[in-house]
Amino acid sequence: MRFRTQLSNAATFSKLTASLSSLGKVCWMRLEDGIVRFTIIPDQGTQVWAQLPVDAIFEESNYILEANAGVINLEVPVGALHRALRSAVAATSTQLRLTKKGNVPLLALTIHVSSWTTGSNALGMTDSDHAALARQATTTSRPGPISGPRERETVITQEIPVKVLHESAIEGLHEPRCRDPDVHIILPSLFQLKSISERFTKLATDAKGSATSAVVSPKLELSANMHGSLKLAIATDALRISSVWTDLVNPSLDPGQLSQTEIEQLPSERMRALSGDDEAGWAKVRIDGKDWGRVLSVGRLSPKVVACFIHETALILYVYLPGSSNGEDSCLTYYINSYAA
C-alpha cells in the first residue's frame, strides 16, 4: 500500500478540511484513481459526502496510489489534518504521503517554506567568526552581525496519526438515497445567509429564556419555491421573524440525463406549474440552527450551492467548488434531515 502526492492547492484543501471539521471529528478519506472522497457521518446532524477530482487539491502527475483494490480508505482526525495544513498554505511545496511509525500509520506532510529575512542575520559568516563570537558571548552581550537580506528555508513536517480501514469496515456505508426534490434553487451568498441565520438563532435563543435553550437549540424554517424565492424564518412563543430572497435561480435539469417526459413528471415541475403566490408551491424544511451554521461554514470556499428541498423531509445541498477544471466538478453533498414540527 502506497500513497504519495504533492499538494497543488493547499489553500483549498485547508478550507475544505476546516469546513468538514466543523461537522465531525473524524473523516473517512477514500483515495481512488483520479478521485478523492471525504465523508463525514456524525452520530447526529448533517452528513457530508464530498468528491473531488485529484487535481482539485493534488498534483495529478505526482499522485502515486498503490493498493490491492486500487483504493485506500483512511480514517482521519480531520481537525488535526486541518491544523497541520495551515502550515502549508504559504508553502512553496508540500508533499503528502502515507507512512508508518512503529505500528501507527501516519499521514505525513512535508512542507517547504521560503521567506526573506529582513537582513540582520549572519550571512556568509565563517566558522572562525563563530568561534570568536562564542568567546565574546560569554562575557558581554553584543549586537548581532549585520548583513543583507537573504532567502531562508524552513522545512516543516506534520505527522497525523490515521487508521487504515479495511474494505469490510466501510461496506455498510452508503450515501443516503432520497426521492426527487420538490424544489431546487441556487442559494444566495452564504455569508449573508449565515449571518442572518445566526442572528435569528440568537434572537430565538434569547427570547426563549435560559432554562430550555441550553438543551434544545432553536429550529429554523427554510422554504423555497420554483419561482426564485427563498424564505428563512424562525418562530417562538415570543416572536416570529422571516427574511425572503427573491429573483434567485431555479437551475434547469440536464436534459442529457433525463428525457423530456421524465422531466415533466418530476415533482419540481409540478411545483413550477403552481403560481408564485400559491402557498402550495413552497417546500419547507425545519433544521437545527446551530447545525445549519456549521454547514454554512463551507462558504469559505466561495462555492456555488444548489439547495434541493424535499418537503417536510430533508434538505440536500450540492456545493460546487469554484474553478474545477477539465469539466469534472468538485462537489460536496450535504444531507440535512428536517425536524418534525
Binding site: 505500528n103 501516519l106 566558522d127 563563530h130 562564542a134 558571548a137 524552513t154 516543516i156 513536517t157 487508521k163
Partner: protein, 405 residues
C-alpha cells in the same frame, strides 16, 4: 527599619507590565528582592522545573531608587530584602496601556514605597500612580516575607550555546499544535530541528486521538551563531519556551540559550535597557547521548546527586512523573509511541514520590541563605573547579572548541 522606594517613568511601566505578564505564565506568586543596586523579580514554578528572573538595574531602569537596611537586620551573609506577592494583584495595578483612553490623566510617574514596620502586622507595598490633572491613584498590596531560591546555572560550563531572534522561534512554535506539551531541540548537518510532541499514553485502539508530531527545521544560518553539539537532543516544556519567546519579542531582544546536556538545566537569557533576564529550565532527553563522550562522566560523579528532573507538571495529574536523571530516557521524541519498556519505566517512576527536598536544593536550587546565589563568584568557582578537575583528569581540555560545529 528597612526602607525601599523607587519611581518609574511611563516607559518603564510598560516594560514592567510586560515582565509581569511573562512571569505570570510560570506561577502565581512573584518574589521581589531588593539590593543596593538592583531589584530582582523572580518566579519559580510549582514543580521547580522552571525559574525565571528579571533583574532591574537601579541606575538604568528606575528614575530614582533607594534602598537601605539597618545594620541590625542585616544578615551576616545577605544584604537584601526579600518578599513575595500575588502576581494577579500586581498585574492589575500595572495593567493595560498606562496612557489609557484619557490622555489628560495618563500616568506620568509611578512611585513605589515599602511599608515595613515591625510594630504593624501588615506589610504593605504602596504604589502611587501620579497622573495628569493632579490625579493620583494609590494602591497598597500586602506582601509576605520569604526566602528566595535561585536556580544554579554556571554559564562558564555551558558547552552548547546559540543566539537567535525571537521572531524566528515564534514562527516555529506557530506550527505546533496548541495541545503539544514538550519540545525537542537538536541540530544535524547545518539544520536545527525543533519537534513538538506530547508523551501521552493512549490506548492502542485510539490511534486517532494520538497527538500530532510537528517538527520544524531551520538553517543554522538563521541563528546569529549556533554552537552546539550535533544530534544532541534536549527536551523542555513548550509552554515555558513560548512564554520566553513572547516576552523577548516584545523586548526586541535576541535570545541566547546555554546548556550542557539533557537532564542538566538550560538557560535562556537576554539583556535590554537596564533589564537582565534569565530563564533556567530543567531539561530531559536522551542523557546517554551526552555522556557518550567519556569526558562528561567526571562531572556526573562530582555531583553525586541525581538531578531532580521533575519535568512533569502537577496539573497533568494522569501524567505526573518525577524523573530522576536516568529515567528521563522514557521520553522519546522521535518515535510515535512510547515503547512498552518505556511505559514500564514511567509507571515505576510514578510510584517514586518526589525526591527529598534536600536533594533538590543540592542539585538545582540553593536556598539563598545557605548558599548565596549563583552570581556570587566564590562558590561557583569552587563548583566549577570541581568540574574542571574532572576534566583535567581525563586530559580532555579542549572540549569547548571541539564542540564548535
Amino acid at each position: 527599619m528597612i526602607s525601599l522606594s523607587f519611581s518609574l517613568a511611563p516607559e518603564a511601566l510598560y516594560q514592567l507590565h510586560d515582565v509581569l505578564t511573562c512571569l505570570a505564565k510560570f506561577h502565581d506568586t512573584v518574589a521581589i528582592e531588593a539590593e543596593f543596586d538592583l531589584l530582582r523579580l523572580s518566579v519559580l514554578n510549582s514543580t521547580k522545573t522552571a525559574y525565571s528572573a528579571f533583574v532591574f538595574e537601579a541606575d538604568r531602569f528606575f528614575e530614582s531608587y533607594s534602598f537601605d537596611m539597618p545594620r541590625a537586620s542585616r544578615n551576616a551573609r545577605s544584604e537584601r530584602f526579600c518578599c513575595q506577592l500575588y502576581l494577579k494583584g500586581l498585574l492589575s495595578v500595572f495593567k493595560g496601556k498606562t496612557g489609557g483612553r484619557d490622555k489628560d490623566t495618563a500616568v506620568e510617574r509611578c512611585e513605589v514605597e515599602l511599608h515595613e514596620r515591625p510594630d504593624q502586622t501588615e506589610c504593605r507595598l504602596a504604589i502611587k500612580m501620579i497622573c495628569g490633572l493632579g490625579v493620583i491613584r494609590s494602591y497598597k498590596l500586602t506582601y509576605e516575607s520569604t526566602t528566595v531560591n535561585h536556580a544554579v546555572f554556571d554559564r562558564t560550563t555551558a558547552t552548547n550555546q546559540w543566539t537567535i531572534e525571537p521572531k524566528f522561534l515564534r514562527e516555529i512554535t506557530d506550527h505546533f499544535s496548541p495541545s503539544a506539551e514538550q519540545l525537542d531541540i537538536y541540530s544535524e548537518s547545518g539544520k536545527v530541528i525543533f519537534t513538538s510532541f506530547t508523551t501521552k499514553i493512549t490506548d492502542g485502539k485510539e490511534i486517532l486521538k494520538k497527538p500530532v508530531h510537528t517538527s520544524v527545521a531551520i538553517d543554522k544560518k538563521d541563528f546569529e551563531y549556533f554552537l552546539a553539539e550535533d544530534n544532541l537532543h534536549i527536551v523542555i516544556f513548550l509552554k515555558d519556551f513560548k512564554a520566553v519567546i513572547a516576552h523577548a519579542e516584545s523586548a526586541h531582544s535576541a535570545i541566547t540559550a546555554r546548556y550542557t546536556r539533557p537532564t542538566r538545566p538550560l538557560q535562556l537569557a537576554y539583556d535590554f535597557g537596564g533589564i537582565k533576564t534569565e530563564f533556567t529550565l530543567m531539561t530531559a532527553g536522551e542523557s546517554d547521548l551526552g555522556i557518550s563522550d567519556s569526558s562528561h562522566a567526571p562531572e556526573l560523579s562530582a555531583r553525586q546527586t541525581p538531578a531532580p528532573v521533575n519535568i512533569s507538571r502537577a496539573s497533568v495529574a494522569s501524567n505526573t512523573r518525577d524523573m530522576p536523571a536516568p529515567r528521563a530516557r522514557s521520553i522519546r521524541p522521535l518515535t510515535g509511541t512510547p515503547r512498552a519498556s518505556a511505559r514500564g519505566t514511567e509507571t515505576n517512576s510514578q510510584s517514586q514520590r518526589p525526591p527529598p527536598a534536600s536533594i533538590q536544593f543540592d542539585s538545582l536550587f540553593v536556598p539563598a541563605d545557605d548558599d548565596r546565589q549563583w552570581d556570587v563568584p566564590n562558590e561557583e568557582e569552587e563548583e566549577a573547579a570541581e568540574d574542571r578537575l574532572g576534566w583535567d583528569a581525563t586530559g580532555d581540555q579542549v572540549w569547548q572548541i571541539e564542540l564548535i560545529c
